[in-house]
């Protein structure tokens, strides 16, 4: 379970352009559930994920993951417990290494790296099995460099790499936004299967209302750093969400 207590964050502090994104923000995310975070641009979705992932530091407040206070952990220390997939498919993989090498690196996540060989024969079948479940044919391309894969394949690999060590929390930052609609659907479907299979606590940012409802258990809408809607996904419809969205956007305009 993820618990965020009284989180505050401002950008450009002590200048005329000070931008207060969060001010005493509280949130609890249930274990083994997928929570979708939606909201207009600038509402604080990505900032929230960055604060949890540790790529930016909070001014105040506490972040507790499965009973462990990670507030003062650096990004790489948090990464041991948190998996993350970004919008850009290249961020989660090493493009000049092969699929096999990428999988082997991800398999060592959070462990000590030594002078032993990274690629162990015994593990190759394990990786092949994991990739086979993805059903994208990647299991037959183990020795292909990742830079030669399509965006969708790369993003699916990023997803597997972020999830294969069963992190306490998986952060999906609009991870299908850079893909074409068809590929995006495939990756979203794979995401759902993976989260269910490994039962991983997930937070997913999406701009696609339909995806958000279909693939999550809970929907949270943010606006200016505040929660303005918090419901079970089965209790809301796409039209309802779009209506609230429009009202908010009109207010902005």
């Amino acid at each position: 379970m993820l618990r965020i207590k009284k989180l505050s964050k401002s950008f450009n502090k002590d200048t005329d352009n000070e931008l207060k994104i969060f001010n005493g923000f509280n949130l609890e995310i249930e274990k083994n559930k997928c929570t979708a975070i939606i909201g207009p641009n600038g509402c604080g979705k990505s900032t929230l994920l960055n604060l949890i992932g540790g790529s930016i530091k909070a001014d105040k407040g506490q972040i507790i993951l499965n009973g462990r206070d990670i507030t003062n952990f650096k990004e790489d220390e948090r990464a041991i417990y948190i998996g993350r997939v970004y919008q850009n498919p290249s961020i989660g993989v090493a493009p000049s290494l092969t699929i096999l090498e990428n999988m082997a690196l991800a398999d060592k996540k959070g462990e000590k790296f030594t002078l032993r060989r990274l690629i162990k024969r015994d593990n190759i079948d394990k990786y092949r099995e994991i990739l086979k479940d993805l059903d994208l044919g990647l299991e037959n391309k183990l020795h292909t460099k990742v830079k030669f894969l399509s965006g969708g394949q790369r993003q699916s690999l990023s997803l597997i790499m972020a999830a294969m060590k069963h992190p306490d929390l998986l952060l999906l930052d609009e991870h299908t936004a850079a893909l074409d609609p068809k590929t995006s659907n495939v990756v979203m479907q794979k995401t759902k299967e993976l989260i269910e299979k490994y039962s991983i606590t997930t937070m997913m940012i999406s701009h696609n209302m339909k995806d958000a409802i279909e693939h999550s258990d809970r929907i949270i809408m943010l606006d200016k750093g505040k929660i303005i809607l918090d419901k079970k996904s089965i209790d809301v419809t796409e039209n309802q969400l779009i209506k609230i969205y429009r009202e908010k956007l009109e207010n902005v305009a």
């Binding site: 790489d76 990464a79 989660g92 993989v93 090493a94 000049s96 690196l105 991800a106 060592k108 990274l118």
Partner: protein, 300 residues
């Protein structure tokens, strides 16, 4: 002519070690590390210092490697801890090393003829081949280990390394230390073969290293089988041979540096622009080659 080839081969092998070092920073970590301009003579001066106080040549050569790693550490600290840009960090270390080199033996030129060297152990070229092979195999093996792969991944995509729960800066430090250690080692070997140490021996050495790496890259370009380290060594030998032959044919030795730089410019620009153009011409397309001549609209 024979002695020319032999000298070129020997010096090419020594520059092969230099090129393998620069390979780690330039190709694998993607950092332009100019500190090697200082570390190459630094290795030579360190060797001169220890040999002159009576230390065995093998140990003196190993000490040159060790002190080289410290120079690499200095550059690494400048840019990972003090956040100075990598290029400037290298230049700063190189500048500091200039003074250190002069201080080490108290003079800018040290003759070594009266001391023994590692080449006294047997035939020079055999010793160099063995040494180069040992380093090459050790490096190849290192880049197959878990830590080796983290170093490669750091150059490829730092955020992936962080997402594995690792501090990518550590691997930059490691890479720079290893690279500068090898460069200093090759400086020490060069000093022993030419019989003296000179403060200017490192100037534009980075161009020599880059030229070697770039020439090596063109060997069997499309083949994945040839390792980077092999390419660097072969590149360095070819570079030295070309240089040797050019001088033999009447090129002024003083012009060699400009020629080397021009080689680097030509190869780099070829890779940046013309390689794409040639590939583009090879792609066959258009109605002439299409099997299915229906338009997309018809297919839908």
């Amino acid at each position: 002519m024979n002695s020319l080839i032999m000298t070129s081969l020997e010096q090419g092998l020594i520059f092969g070690i230099l090129a393998m070092g620069v390979l780690i920073t330039y190709k694998i970590l993607d950092i332009a590390d100019l500190s090697v301009e200082g570390t190459f003579p630094f290795g030579a001066f360190i060797f001169a210092k220890f040999i002159s106080i009576g230390i065995n040549p093998i140990i003196s050569t190993l000490l040159a490697f060790f002190f080289g790693t410290l120079a690499g550490l200095s550059t690494a600290i400048l840019f990972t801890k003090l956040r100075i840009k990598p290029l400037l960090s290298g230049i700063l270390t190189m500048t500091i090393l200039y003074s250190v080199n002069l201080k080490t033996n108290g003079k800018a030129n040290v003759p070594l003829f009266s001391y023994s060297s590692v080449y006294d152990l047997g035939t020079t070229v055999v010793i160099l081949i063995v040494l180069v092979l040992i380093i090459k195999i050790a490096l190849d093996e290192f880049f197959k280990t878990e830590i080796g792969y983290l170093l490669i991944a750091t150059g490829d995509n730092e955020s992936l390394v962080r997402s594995l729960g690792k501090n990518s800066n550590r691997y930059k430090v490691l890479g720079l230390m290893l690279a500068n250690g090898l460069v200093a080692l090759s400086g020490a070997l060069m000093a022993q073969i030419q019989g003296f140490v000179d403060i200017t021996m490192g100037s534009s050495i980075i161009v020599v290293a880059l030229a070697s790496i770039i020439i090596g890259d063109t060997i069997g370009k499309r083949s994945n089988r040839i390792k980077n380290t092999t390419r660097a060594i072969l590149g360095a030998i070819i570079y030295k041979l070309i240089g040797g032959i050019a001088i033999d044919l009447g090129l002024e030795p003083s012009d060699l540096k400009a020629v080397s730089a021009i080689i680097v410019i030509v190869f780099l620009s070829y890779n940046n622009f013309f390689a794409d153009l040639i590939d583009f011409k090879k792609i066959k397309g258009g109605e002439k080659y299409a099997k299915n001549k229906k338009t997309i609209k018809e297919l839908q």
